[in-house]
């Protein structure tokens, strides 16, 4: 199979697939946000979705945990197509962590409470274990001493790291990142990317919508390039960043000032 094939089913990978997107279609009114998207996320891989704004990357991510429902095709998660009823959606979401562009920490809870609220509310874990677990996760993202701070008393980078810890608290099988560094001051981008890199090294399966090409190149195992609701090219980072087969990929990377 041609490595540049936008349909990009990946033969030869020894890792089992976690998510398979099959011809996914999503419309908002008359606007087609996703126009037949097929891709695959394998266990332990970091898949980076790149492309211009409005090209459908975020929409695909949101369809993955049913924050949006799809209008065509299907998304298979761990062997079973995801459904769209509230109960089916909840079941899927409990197994996927999501990190948002604007952090979306809960402002009326401390950092520690933000991390503990998922296990406490959704998994029904007792308060003491949930708190202990939350503290361990704050340690992991380098915020051991910030547990009692409210989000408003944290920097953007710190808030986003708390948000990552909050998602991890549910022991997800995979993590979804929606432009996790786009709303950050440049000097705090690094601390968030480092946490994500460590997570990837620990073997977490991750789908990352990002404009950080250096991160995608260094940490990504598979890069998917979007344009106008379609995948123009997908492949390993060496191919996408060093030898893109598609004109549109070269254009996009060129606009970002990417020189390889």
């Amino acid at each position: 199979m041609n490595a540049g094939d936008p349909q990009g089913a990946r033969k030869g990978s020894d890792k089992p697939p976690i998510v398979i997107y099959e011809n996914v279609v999503k419309r908002f009114g008359t606007f087609t946000a996703l126009n037949g998207v097929s891709a695959q996320v394998n266990a332990g891989e970091v898949v980076c979705l790149i492309g211009p704004s409005g090209s459908g990357k975020t929409t695909l991510l949101r369809c993955t945990n049913v924050l949006e429902t799809i209008d065509g095709g299907r998304i298979v998660f761990e062997g079973a197509p995801i459904g769209s009823t509230p109960n089916q959606a909840r079941a899927v979401r409990q197994r996927m962590g999501m990190v948002f562009q604007n952090f979306e920490l809960f402002p009326h809870m401390t950092a520690l409470e933000n991390v503990a609220v998922g296990p406490l509310t959704v998994l029904g874990i007792d308060k003491e274990s949930a708190t202990r677990k939350a503290q361990a996760l704050l340690d992991k993202v380098g915020l051991s001493t910030k547990g009692s701070n409210y989000p408003s008393a944290l920097s953007g980078g710190q808030q986003q790291r708390v948000a990552i810890a909050r998602a991890l608290a549910m022991d997800p099988e995979m993590m979804l990142f929606d432009e996790p560094t786009s709303a950050l001051d440049p000097e705090t981008v690094g601390e968030v990317l480092n946490v994500m890199k460590k997570l990837a090294e620990d073997g977490m399966t991750m789908v990352v919508v990002t404009h950080e090409m250096a991160f995608a190149q260094r940490v990504g195992d598979w890069i998917v390039v979007f344009d106008h609701g379609r995948i123009v090219e997908q492949g390993p980072p060496q191919q996408i960043f060093d030898a893109p087969t598609e004109e549109r990929t070269r254009d996009f990377l060129g606009h970002l000032g990417w020189t390889g």
Partner: protein, 220 residues
């Protein structure tokens, strides 16, 4: 014309008892109308058509009727609905005020809930919370904080509006003062006394509301 202000002092215990009834009625009404308003708001947002229709109907019905009409209406309707139950005037007044104020509070809660941005709901759903858990853990605590000044404003209005229940002989401050007036014809004295008492009790509440608006306005 000569004034005799001593009647106010002479009837001090009656007036005090009227004040006490007014305060009790205000507290009792709010104690019902806050959970009541919350329930009506949640019904209105329900996925089930019948429930949401009922919530909308309740809100739009009671919000757009004069409170005094609701009071009269409850006064005449309640005994026909439950002929075996003896409703004292206080309970009747409480039911009527609670209906009206619940409708107001439902709208206040709705405004508060709608003011919480969608991303908060999505973040909570992404953790796998149910709609109800999202509401209880994430949306309502934030919304409640935001609408606290509005609820306090309603409280101050309610404190004055309790005077309307005097029409069904609830012995609140208004009813008591007007009764005294009817006995001794000291009209101006009693009305002045009422005005002074309502104002002295209402003013600090209104100031408290102003303070709340300032305080919460800063942190948002």
């Amino acid at each position: 014309m000569n004034y005799d202000w001593s009647v106010i002092w002479d009837f001090r215990s009656e007036l005090a008892s009227g004040v006490w009834t007014t305060i009790q009625l205000t507290f009792a009404t709010m104690a019902v109308a806050i959970p009541g308003g919350l329930t009506i708001m949640l019904l209105r947002q329900s996925r089930f058509r019948l429930l949401s229709w009922f919530g909308t109907f309740f809100t739009e019905f009671f919000r757009n009727l004069p409170l005094i009409l609701v009071i009269y209406w409850v006064f005449y309707i309640l005994p026909t609905l439950m002929p075996n139950v003896d409703f004292p005037p206080f309970a009747t007044g409480l039911v009527a005020l609670a209906l009206g104020v619940s409708a107001y509070n439902a709208e206040t809660f709705r405004a508060g809930v709608n003011s919480i941005r969608k991303g908060q709901t999505e973040a909570a759903m992404a953790l796998g919370m149910s709609r109800w858990q999202v509401m209880r853990k994430v949306v309502l605590p934030q919304a409640f904080r935001r609408i606290l000044p509005m609820l306090a404003s309603t409280w101050v209005s309610l404190f004055k509006d309790t005077s309307l229940v005097s029409v069904i002989a609830v012995a609140d401050l208004t009813y008591t003062a007007l009764e005294i007036r009817a006995k001794n014809y000291r009209i101006l004295e009693m009305l002045t006394a009422m005005a002074v008492i309502y104002w002295c009790l209402g003013y600090p509440q209104a100031k408290f509301v102003d303070w709340m608006y300032r305080k919460i306005g800063v942190t948002e």
